[in-house]
Assembly symmetry: C2
Homo-oligomer: 109 residues x 2
């Protein structure tokens, strides 16, 4: 799934994660988003483009200002992938625990 590749890739950078954290509190214009990072605007814009390309944010022009907003569907997709794998493995560990307990009980009986 190419989408998962790009979503995880986008999330692997601390600046991009901080942008998502800020957008979790509400939409923001590019200049406002850029302020805390002290980064050249073209570099910052590249991070926003990575986030927009994989669907984690979307933007729209309001007059002369471009406003960015969080999009949760790709986060949910990535979250589901991880949850499924973690639960599958934890279930397996629980089965193993149960098996070892049975073995122990049989040995003691």
């Amino acid at each position: 799934m190419a989408t998962l590749d790009h979503v995880f890739q986008a999330l692997s950078n601390p600046t991009r994660r901080d942008v998502l954290t800020r957008l979790g509190r509400g939409p923001a214009a590019m200049t406002e988003l850029a302020k805390p990072f002290g980064m050249a605007l073209p570099s910052f814009l590249q991070h926003l483009q990575v986030l927009e390309k994989c669907g984690l944010v979307r933007s729209q022009k309001k007059g002369r200002v471009r406003v960015f907003e969080l999009e949760t569907q790709p986060l949910r997709l990535a979250e589901d992938w991880m949850k499924t794998h973690r639960e599958q493995w934890e279930a397996r560990l629980n089965q193993l625990d149960a098996y070892l307990l049975t073995m122990e009980k049989e040995t003691n009986d």
Copy 2:
């Protein structure tokens, strides 16, 4: 958080995600893991090293064979990060919905 950088980076590759899927069914030796990928062993080993370095898998030598196992704690860390941000944003959208409904009701009254 450097750990999150590395975990998300590791998850952004389909071969590495497939390895985790396989390990979700139980531990496996390197040669067994490599089999479905038809990839040169040194390249495959690099993927395993990326997974082991960020803690998503751990390995131990059993006789002459190195056996790999899934480690769920980093998955949980990344999952929690995404869940927090998704829920924060969804809660904000719900508040906005409630506000708009109130406004609509007041306009109709």
